[in-house]
Symmetry: C2
Subunit: 676 residues, 2 copies
């Protein structure tokens, strides 16, 4: 089968996803906001989230304009044959679609939170339905706008991969701000709210007297809805774009169409899966969410099989190698299965049901130091299995379909992105719903239902983190492979000193980026702490509940700090690869070494930080559940210390690694014409 008519599948399925958003939105709107107090709190969170986005867009606007100018200069320097000026157009479209997805997702998530609380006044199933519908909007926005934008760019520019790469660069630019800036924001707000509110003023979590409480609730949305969405949007787009680039470079007939069709069909799979989310009162919401993922995966696998065998010849040659369509299918599902396995491994290392978290909890008995060492070493240990899974996926994908197979493995892993993002974004909505129940002082059983939803959110968040890391690694490798093809590199040989040096620089950038983002959280948090202390001091009657604190100012302070702090690491990520690529004594092979060093080290650090952070968090919760003396015991104090260390690990620096490895790879791919 062939024909340009199939090229319309991607934008059309993108539109279908957007229509599904309208349906979900209607479903959410039908639920009432509840009491006046609930509506007020909901509004404050919504306004705070939008204030963050607005400020982020201002920074992004400057960044995007600068990048467009730079792209045009490079295009002028190397000539339109090697870099068409339209790359800048694709870049802007890629960025705008990601911004749009984040905007829609946040808008609806901050509408669904308060409605989830209200639905929880009726039943668990209704609350689950609202929360999951809210999360699904983010998922559908990511895949819908991704496919719509990429599909249209592909149609307009007739599959010219040099131009299409720009779309992926746009996705990465937004992901940098949303994920890294958002990651700094969410932890600065969290630490600020906790340290002054809980520790200094002695008021409970989510207490409305805490000036930073809304900023903290906003942070959940900024980090886990918009941040995770932009991260997976970047992977989703990057995997398809790199497959198109590789297929073009290798001249595989219909090779560019297949990833678009698999991704487009994945939208349908996710929509089908979403109808399987329901639970009974006292049921387990986790099982409902797992069902959605399972159904979506099976539908996606079956669809991929038919797409691949219909559009690729049963057997075809690439250079001296012969591949079969069955082999391509195996490569594709190798990625999908690897994604699921990494999620499960993450769950093992971060859930209180298994030995690692229990051991960390036990080590809290001898104090904070042993808790830290236990969590840290568990995080390091937890890298072993994911590495083996990724290694097997790479070897299988390459054996059966070469570089094209590695890229398609990433596409396969990301086929069900709609469901994954939906399940993940459900978490902060449930978390917010609990916070609103607390602040609005609702009945005990309401909070119980939202707590039930929220507990599941922690597990899904951990699994989604593992999935995001795995997909980032595969996408970065796919982009890296595309870069080697476009730059005409014959070998990236570690026996050459410039490649070794490149690998050292790549690994070092990972450590540097992790260090800078961790330090950024510290500084942004202290801005927040100052502001909360100032409000307690200067606004009379806050503690007595007579006067409302100035929530908006806290949001604004921590937004400004977060975005200010991400400038330096962000610029590093864009500039260093280009500098290494153009320097005469380093060059394009050294840049290949840099990307290799960064992917390997970045994957390890990302897994380590995400799992250590998740494990510390759940070890604390395990103790709070009554183990080892429970809340208020010395073991609990030690576990709180570990959890605080883990916060920037799992929500700022760890996820930042995903962005960094993909961003540097796409920068190398887009600017390859600059390097000789």
């Amino acid at each position: 089968m062939t024909g340009t008519v199939y090229l319309y599948a991607a934008p059309v399925m993108g539109l279908v996803a957007l229509l599904f958003i309208l349906y979900l939105n209607g479903k959410i709107n039908r639920v009432d906001e509840g009491t006046k107090r609930m509506a007020e709190i909901g509004l404050a969170i919504r306004e705070g989230a939008m204030a963050f986005l607005k400020r982020e867009y201002t920074y992004l606007f400057i960044f995007i304009v600068a990048m467009v100018v730079f792209l045009l200069i490079v295009s002028f320097l190397v000539g339109p044959d090697r870099m068409p000026p339209s790359t800048a157009i694709a870049y802007v479209i890629g960025a705008v679609c990601s911004i749009g997805a984040g905007f829609i997702g946040m808008r609806v998530a901050t509408k669904a939170n308060v409605r989830t609380t209200n639905a929880a006044r009726q039943s668990l199933n209704q609350a689950l339905g609202v929360a999951f519908a809210g999360g699904s909007v983010m998922g559908m926005a990511v895949v819908g706008l991704g496919m719509l934008g990429l599909g249209i760019v592909n149609l307009i520019f007739q599959g010219n991969s040099a131009i299409i790469n720009g779309f992926s660069l746009g996705a990465s630019s937004v992901a940098l701000f949303a994920r890294v800036g958002g990651g700094i924001y969410t932890k600065a707000a969290d630490v600020g709210a906790d340290l002054v509110g809980k520790v200094e003023a002695g008021i409970p979590e989510d207490d409305p007297r805490n000036p930073a409480v809304i900023a903290d609730n906003v942070g959940d949305n900024v980090g886990d809805v918009a941040g995770m969405g932009a991260d997976l949007y970047e992977s989703y787009v990057g995997s398809v774009v790199s497959t198109i680039a590789i297929a073009s470079a290798l001249g595989i007939a219909n090779g560019s169409l297949v990833p678009l069709l698999i991704a487009a069909f994945g939208i349908l799979s996710s929509i089908i899966g979403s109808f399987f989310v329901r639970t009974s009162e006292g049921g387990n919401p986790q099982a409902a969410l797992n069902m959605a993922t399972l159904v979506a995966s099976i539908v996606a696998i079956v669809g991929s099989y038919f797409i691949i065998t219909s559009f690729l010849p049963a057997s075809f040659n690439v250079g001296q190698d012969t591949y079969t369509s069955t082999g391509v299918f195996i490569a594709t599902i190798a990625g999908l299965i690897a994604g699921v396995l990494i999620g499960r491994i993450t769950e093992y290392y971060t859930s209180a049901n298994y030995a690692p978290v229990k051991e960390i909890a036990r080590s809290s008995l001898t104090g904070a130091a042993t808790n830290i060492i236990a969590g840290f070493s568990t995080g390091m240990l937890s890298t072993a299995l994911p590495v083996i899974v990724v290694a097997v996926a790479i070897l299988l994908a390459h054996r059966f379909a070469g570089l094209y197979g590695i890229a398609l493995a990433a596409v396969g892993m990301l086929a069900t992105t709609g469901t994954t993002v939906g399940v993940d974004a459900y978490g902060p909505i449930a978390d917010n719903a609990g916070g609103i129940a607390e602040q609005a002082e609702l009945a005990h059983d309401v909070r119980e239902r939202t707590d039930n939803l929220d507990a599941v959110g922690n597990t899904t968040a951990a699994i989604a983190k593992g999935f995001a890391i795995g997909s980032a690694a595969l996408t970065a490798l796919a982009l890296f492979s595309a870069y080697t093809q476009v730059a005409g590199i014959k070998a990236i040989d570690f026996m050459k000193p410039e490649v070794i040096v490149g690998a050292f620089i790549g690994g070092m950038l990972i450590f540097l980026f992790a260090a800078l983002t961790m330090k950024a959280v510290g500084r942004a948090a202290s801005d927040m702490i100052e502001e909360v202390r100032r409000q307690f001091r200067e606004i009379p009657g806050i503690m007595e509940g007579k006067n409302r604190p100035d929530y908006a100012h806290c949001v604004s302070i921590s937004t400004a700090a977060a975005l200010r702090e991400m400038v330096v690491p962000g610029l590093l990520a864009v500039i260093v690869p280009i500098v290494v690529g153009v320097l005469p004594f380093l060059g394009k092979e050294a840049l290949g070494g840099l990307l290799a060093g960064a992917v390997v080290t970045g994957f390890l650090v990302a897994v380590m930080m995400a799992n250590a952070g998740g494990a510390w968090d759940n070890a604390k919760k395990y103790i709070e559940g009554g183990q080892h003396g429970g809340k208020g015991s010395p073991a609990h104090a030690a576990a709180v210390c570990g959890d605080t260390v883990g916060d920037p690990f799992k929500d700022t620096s760890g996820p930042a690694m995903n962005i960094l490895i993909k961003l540097m790879s796409i920068v190398a791919l887009v600017f390859a014409p600059l390097f000789f």
Copy 2:
């Protein structure tokens, strides 16, 4: 100049070093042991240290026998042309020389400690003289037995590099046990002594009522004398051996002689430098030690210049490249200068005189969690400059002398190993001297002098750690280069999936090794804690000072635990590279990728852990000096937590990285004939 007579320079200079040991030993023996109590404590430490060594040798014996059998089997499999059976002989000699160096060094260090205490009853300069003489014995034993053994092996086997490689494998085997086993031992004893003694029983550090006090003092010697000595012996030998292997493979005339001569001459430089160590009462011992390093470095540089220009032609060809003797000299001193710079950078990040440690101390004001985050991010940040230094050294060395240059850079860095080990081993002797003064309840001014010596020891230890990491990275790269030549690898191409997978496995092994060694410290420490608690419970009158605790049993418990715990990580380090090399779908290029991934990640993790650990330690000392509330304040408690986390970082897992990257590289080099 040429002629086999120069081949005798290495063993002769080795003998000179051994004679110098006799001189130093005489100097130490002339000092009295002091009071009866002092002599008793000195004896207990000496006996404990020897008990550790004896047990270590038992394990080592089994390991060495197994390795000899394995070498002979491989030799039989691949034929004596590709691996001569005599490799096993060279292996045993290399191991025995390292064991001998450790034995001599420990023997004299545990004699010098109590004599340093006694000398401190007279004057600071006399105490410095004894402590430095004790440290120098370890330094001279390392270089003396290294050059004697390697020189003789080189003579007997007429420069057959396949055989000589075995010598380096022997060095690495002993280093594994001394550094990793020793690292676990020292921290298990330290944590055990502190947790039960200081925290539970409330008795001060170094109190004779603490059953683990001798084990703790023994640990200083085991870790910083024998461990560091074996680590640098491994680097010293490995750099020379890899240079010989590369020179043989590339057919550089006199190319094998030059590294031997530079190393042999380095012994002379170190002896000359050692005569510059003196200070006045109230003077700064640091300045005296710096002077020794400076003089030794200058003499080594001048000597290297004459050796290189005399023995290498002014200009010569290697393949298509032309190198000059001046270029080779530049490559050599690039390594030496890089070593000095990395030491200085380490000092900046770990000394309380500079901003990083002060910031960690300040962050202790907000609790343990912020202290941990600050130390951790400082450690990660501190990798940037060392990477740049190593990168410049690699690029310079390769530009001026190719792979041969990279190997010679490592030799250049290690030329002054005698001084470096001497200065480093001085530290634990001074530390022990302080402990003995405390336990023997000597006058306040004695403890003041030993504290003065000890404070310097912390800085020199940090510098030596930086140097050990830098030398390990360069040596591993040199061994890696030698491996590629011997295995006949044309390129280690990261575009091949098996190389990508190799790099992932290499990086993962680093994380795994770090995790396993950290967990090992925890388990070994808990064995120790149980034993101390048992003694307090079962031996009456310990706390009243009426009954002596059973020191020896504590030593034995923690020795057994340490050696037991290192079996799994040790086997991993030997077996995984061989398995990757022989597996048909991975193979020798994948093994190259593994080594590359391990060197890059290992260097980063080693620097991070060493510097974070050193910085935490000194931040605690800085607060103890009266800052931020001083001893007993909440900030101090937070800093103690950081210091405890830092202990296994800087003294166990961090240094273990040095061993791991060198060991895996030499395993690859020696067993290269197995891989197809």
